[in-house]
């Protein structure tokens, strides 16, 4: 009996510690995000302009070098979607509607989401690994003691880069996905190109693309903030960098899905 209560007490204590840790992380992330917004959007108007060179470098790293994987993934998603829906729609005699289905699901959901997930793995991990290494080798401390703000110096360029590039990549992913569906539709599935095009245009609305872009902006903030936070909290050695890089990818993927759910339901109920 005593053992049993001891057990519960121990567990409750542990649960409390976990919860406390969780809230500490949340507030830490909040403060870092606030500092980043301040450095990125407010400080430039108070006589401390952002430097363009690091932003360009990051844009190239984040955006240009991610195009291949984003194109490939979204193109294949379009192809797969067309194949998967074709067999079902054919039974209903509505094969022409493959285009509509592919177009709507890509622009509304899969384009922004898949791009964000790919980028969380590719760029979020790189953010944590890069800045985490700087943290363990005292480079971030060196910045601070040189009276340079690490947030402004390291996070702001990455923040701006991904905030601009993720929506751009999302648009390209949308186009590639639709192209993938179209190519399969008119070749393997034998749908008339004109009909495919007409059905797609009928079904898709510009609002879907815009909501997709709003979402991808939010995903961008999640990726860069989780990536940076996970790097900035590293204490200790190299093994921590690896550990936090993994955590960073996992956490940002989960947060992306949650944010997606929230925004989708918001758009669903509001509009």
């Amino acid at each position: 009996m005593r053992f049993f209560f001891g057990f519960i007490g121990h567990n409750a204590f542990q649960a409390w510690a976990v919860a406390e840790n969780f809230f500490k992380e949340i507030s830490g992330m909040y403060y870092l995000t606030r500092a980043t917004f301040y450095c990125t959007f407010i400080e430039p108007f108070r006589g401390k302009p952002n430097k363009w060179k690091p932003i360009w470098t990051q844009m190239e790293e984040v955006g240009v070098k991610s195009t291949t994987i984003v194109f490939l993934v979204s193109f294949l998603i379009g192809v797969i979607l067309a194949f998967q829906t074709a067999s079902q729609l054919a039974r209903l005699g509505a094969l022409d509607f493959v285009g509509a289905l592919v177009g709507v699901s890509i622009t509304r959901e899969l384009g922004p989401l898949m791009t964000a997930l790919v980028m969380a793995g590719r760029v979020g991990a790189a953010f944590t690994a890069e800045m985490g290494t700087m943290k363990v080798s005292d480079e971030i401390l060196a910045l601070e003691t040189m009276a340079l703000n690490p947030v402004k110096f390291l996070i702001t360029p990455r923040f701006i880069a991904i905030l601009v590039m993720l929506p751009c990549l999302t648009i390209m992913a949308d186009l590639m996905g639709i192209l993938g569906g179209f190519l399969i539709g008119i070749t393997t599935l034998g749908i008339d190109p004109i009909a495919y095009y007409d059905r797609s245009i009928e079904a898709m609305v510009i609002k879907d693309v815009v909501t997709g872009l709003i979402k991808s902006g939010v995903f961008a903030v999640i990726i860069v903030m989780v990536g940076s936070y996970m790097a900035f909290i590293i204490e200790g050695g190299a093994e921590k960098v690896g550990e936090n890089t993994r955590t960073s990818v996992v956490v940002s993927m989960i947060l992306i899905i949650i944010a997606d759910l929230i925004f989708t339901s918001l758009f669903f109920f509001v509009t």
Binding site: D138, E139, A142
Partner: protein, 268 residues
């Protein structure tokens, strides 16, 4: 130049409370080299982290060139930090930047100087540390001793009045140690820089210092000129400067009796 009064710092809470620094007083004078020596865990790095404004003390105050550092706001902290340079143990150079960009970074960020002027200044700083010509190398291409010299060049980029050295000679070969020691002395004597050196290299500290502060378990056990330290009667100091394994400073970190601890071991 730097005054430290009654500095006290503890880590942890309750039973695990650990006093890392207890009543640390020091006065670092202009143009002098002061070394803080002690074994690992003696609190010497903690002192340095307080001086550069990374740690906040539990009590006590630090005044750097007339400005109080403890509890200062962001602007004061920035102003104080522009007055000193620091050379980290690992060098802490930015690996993605070339040597030139590393040294130029504080100049580009904190001054309105023309890019050509900055390039000339970088060359001058590199000449001072004897590495002129290394401008376009990346830190990964440099040896340990070179990294430290570049780190020193970066530390003095803004012509600071104060330079902090964190273990300047750790992990270097004897010749590199000699080079770094000479640089520290030259800089402080010729440019009247106040130098604070945190080290456990006794011979090097004895050579370069005007004053030595010895820490043991967070307390100052000796302070004075190298001569005074060398002639001290305190067995702890003698043990440390002679590097003997036997003496009042125990080799084992454990406070508990070995036999007792073995007897009390429980296996679950």
């Amino acid at each position: 130049m730097i005054k430290v009064n009654h500095l006290r710092k503890t880590f942890g809470e309750g039973d695990k409370k650990l006093i890392v620094l207890d009543d640390f007083n020091a006065h670092f004078e202009s143009g002098q080299i002061t070394s803080i020596i002690g074994g690992s865990g003696s609190g010497k790095s903690t002192v340095l982290k307080h001086l550069i404004g990374v740690y906040k003390p539990d009590s006590g105050d630090i005044i750097i060139d007339g400005d109080p550092l403890v509890n200062s706001n962001r602007e004061t902290l920035v102003r104080i930090r522009k007055k000193f340079g620091i050379m980290f143990q690992s060098g802490a150079l930015f690996n993605s930047l070339t040597v030139e960009d590393n040294v130029a970074l504080p100049l580009r960020e904190h001054t309105e100087l023309n890019e050509n002027t900055i390039k000339i200044m970088v060359k001058m700083k590199l000449e001072m540390v004897g590495l002129r010509g290394a401008e376009h190398l990346k830190p990964a291409q440099l040896s340990g001793g070179m990294i430290k010299r570049i780190a020193l060049a970066r530390a003095i980029a803004l012509d600071p009045k104060i330079v902090f050295y964190d273990e300047p000679s750790a992990g270097l070969d004897p010749i590199s140690i000699g080079v770094i020691d000479k640089l520290i002395v030259d800089l402080s004597k010729k440019m009247r820089i106040t130098s604070v050196v945190v080290t456990h290299e006794i011979p090097s500290a004895m050579r370069i210092s005007d004053k030595i502060i010895m820490l043991y378990k967070g307390k100052i056990i000796a302070a004075g000129s190298p001569e005074e330290i060398r002639n001290s009667e305190d067995p702890r100091i003698q043990q440390f400067i002679n590097g003997s394994p036997d003496g009042p400073i125990p080799f084992s970190k454990s406070q508990k009796d070995y036999g007792e601890e073995l007897k009390e071991m429980r296996f679950s």
